[in-house]
């Protein structure tokens, strides 16, 4: 069963610099589906629009970001809701309880001047206004214990916690109200490998307990290989390939995905790895046709002219590439 569905989602940052309008096409016609009980990984390089995409899914659209088209549907207790036709108050009610978002560098997202318990209290109070303070605190404490974190973290200020602990506290906060969808944006970037593994372990445990959808946005394919069930590869604002983790790593079809997978260093193999020629395009001036064609060695005329459709090519495997379609 699906929880969130995006349909031909388009969004852009519209900037006005000294009278010159600049439009950054960060997300272009993205369609995807998040399902119950799965880990969905979104992979891509910096500046490919992955953070913008998850902000759209979460409903956080603020200028200069503008929704240019498409819809986001939530399935809440069997009802279908169109996110962007909801009233702001309704949207706010869904946050934390239906969908929660762990932003990038969430280390700095805890309020530095209040104790951790204050932040937990704020979240709980907004969704359970009738409960007393002590009850709320007890609920927060219980939740931390369930996640295997020391409840004493409630009594300290964020700066007293280490980076890894802060990240785990933010994850605890995001899962406090048992949301059906949790979006974690670069949850382990800037953490050490051992801590990184601990944080991913926690995310996965919570997901297994809640049987909900977990979205992990990252540029690290190694992280996704370890935790994701399905992966969407983003390039220049589009998802260009989507498949199960096995298919992505073993039978990638899009030339970009192939470069990405083949350039990963592996232990026990010192053979030379080639990376894709050129560099990622600017989202202000996207290349015509397939955005990858200037870097693609196999590009044909059609690739330069027409944007390839994102089509199903196999079991749960979608690719946007003319080469794959035309054989």
């Amino acid at each position: 069963m699906w929880s969130v569905r995006a349909n031909k989602l388009c969004a852009a940052y519209v900037l006005d610099i000294f009278g010159t309008k600049k439009v950054i096409h960060a997300v272009n016609e993205v369609s995807l589906e998040l399902r119950e009980n799965e880990v969905y990984g979104i992979a891509g390089e910096s500046g490919c629009g992955k953070t913008t995409l998850v902000r759209l899914l979460f409903g956080d659209v603020q200028p200069p970001l503008r929704l240019m088209g498409g819809r986001v549907l939530y399935q809440v207790d069997g009802r279908e809701l169109d996110l962007y036709s909801l009233a702001p108050a309704e949207r706010r009610d869904l946050r934390w309880s239906f969908i929660s978002y762990v932003p990038q560098s969430s280390m700095s997202n805890l309020n530095p001047v209040i104790k951790v318990k204050g932040t937990f209290g704020d979240v709980l109070k907004s969704h359970a206004p009738h409960q007393g303070k002590r009850e709320l605190l007890e609920r927060a404490r219980q939740h931390l214990v369930e996640l295997g974190l020391p409840p004493k973290v409630l009594e300290v200020y964020p700066h007293q916690l280490s980076g890894g602990m802060r990240q785990r506290v933010v994850i605890a906060l995001a899962t406090l109200l048992s949301p059906r969808v949790v979006i974690a944006d670069e949850p382990v970037t800037a953490l050490d490998v051992v801590v990184q593994r601990g944080v991913l372990q926690l995310l996965k445990e919570v997901q297994e307990r809640l049987q909900n959808a977990l979205v992990i946005v990252t540029h690290d394919m190694g992280v996704l290989a370890n935790v994701a069930d399905r992966i969407g590869i983003m390039y220049a604002g589009r998802i260009i390939e989507e498949a199960s983790v096995w298919t992505i790593f073993e039978q990638p079809l899009h030339p970009y995905t192939r470069y990405l997978i083949n350039s990963l260093p592996a232990f026990g193999d010192k053979g030379t790895r080639e990376s894709a020629p050129g560099s990622p395009p600017s989202l202000v001036e996207l290349p015509s046709g397939c955005a990858f064609h200037p870097r693609c060695r196999l590009a044909r005329d059609r690739c330069r002219e027409e944007v390839p459709e994102f089509e199903m090519v196999g079991d749960e495997h979608r690719v946007a590439c003319w080469l794959v379609k035309e054989g």
Binding site: S162, V194, F249, S263
Partner: protein, 318 residues
């Protein structure tokens, strides 16, 4: 083979709160070698790099450096010119966004007196840029924001090569570069070593790229080198329990090799720094009484060294 070698010998560096950031570390980097320095954040690898660069004085111990011609380098100026140059993590922070990139090149040439006139300077700059696959034309008049991360990192490497140093210190040079062009920068380091005979100290927390590019590697933990040697030996046949833990935690890019067991996280960095004996004892699954009291000695295996009491016991050495 020319006998170019660099010997670093450093002792404890005591800061005000007496945290020994780097403790009795010795290693040598041979000519034309890529030496990896890996460890978690706060393990002292950047402090070590800063001491090699001459930004920081070691509290005790000595660092010696030899030029490409094999002669020892003496004096601060020569140290930075013919000795060692740095390539930093984020190229967009290396360069001032309001200055044209080429100005850094001319400035470097001028500061070290590398050329007599503009034509000579240009020639030298062109040569350095050619080495990294750029040209003067490609950078002339451009500001950092007009470059892609990969190009700018190449420019940063070219600038470091201007003074023909015998050693490059690369502090996480690819962690800010787009994944699809990361390997081309790693390949560039390999290529420079082959062509120029320059040595590279590659500082990273990413063991996978370290494995790819390094000849030898040292693993640091809380200011100590706990294992060192041939990269194949150290990483593929890890002896030290900490290295084994690290290797298990690196996310392998293969869904077949997913993690199974659980991992225990450290309580606090400071506590580990202040620990007597082996700093890893608090987290080590095999910790013994002796580990908490005595600093382990170096134990040598074929192609690698590790500092661990456990290994001494298992070897039966007294």
């Amino acid at each position: 083979m020319r006998d170019v070698s660099k010997i670093f010998h450093m002792g404890s560096m005591l800061s005000r709160i007496r945290i020994t950031a780097v403790e009795h570390v010795s290693f040598r980097v041979g000519p034309g070698e890529i030496f990896g320095l890996a460890g978690e954040s706060g393990c002292g690898k950047t402090t070590l790099a800063r001491m090699i660069l001459g930004f920081e004085e070691p509290t005790s111990g000595t660092i010696a450096l030899r030029g490409r011609d094999g002669q020892p380098i003496v004096g601060r100026r020569a140290w930075r010119r013919a000795g060692v140059q740095a390539v930093f993590q984020n190229p967009f922070e290396t360069f001032n966004p309001l200055r044209q990139v080429e100005r850094y090149f001319f400035e470097t040439v001028q500061n070290y007196g590398l050329a007599g006139n503009r034509a000579e300077a240009l020639e030298r700059i062109e040569r350095a840029l050619q080495m990294v696959g750029l040209s003067y034309e490609a950078i002339a008049g451009r500001y950092p924001a007009e470059f892609s991360g990969g190009q700018l990192q190449r420019a940063s490497i070219a600038r470091a090569l201007l003074s023909e140093p015998s050693l490059l210190i690369a502090d996480e040079p690819v962690s800010m570069v787009d994944a699809s062009i990361r390997m081309s920068i790693m390949n560039l380091f390999r290529d420079l070593v082959d062509r120029l005979g320059v040595s590279v100290v590659y500082i990273t927390h990413d063991l996978a790229t370290a494995y790819y590019v390094c000849d030898r590697i040292a693993i640091m933990f809380r200011g100590n080198i706990v294992a060192m040697g041939n990269v194949d030996k150290v990483l593929m046949e890890p002896k030290h329990p900490y290295v084994r833990l690290l290797m298990e935690c690196v996310p392998q890019t293969d869904p077949k090799k997913r993690w199974r067991a659980k991992v225990q996280l450290s309580a606090s960095e400071t506590e580990e720094y202040l620990r007597a004996g082996c700093k890893f004892a608090g987290r080590c699954p095999h910790a013994m009484d002796i580990c908490k009291q005595e600093v382990p000695e170096e134990i040598y295996f074929e192609g690698q060294m590790a500092k661990c009491h456990l290994l001494r016991v298992s070897q039966g050495v007294q």
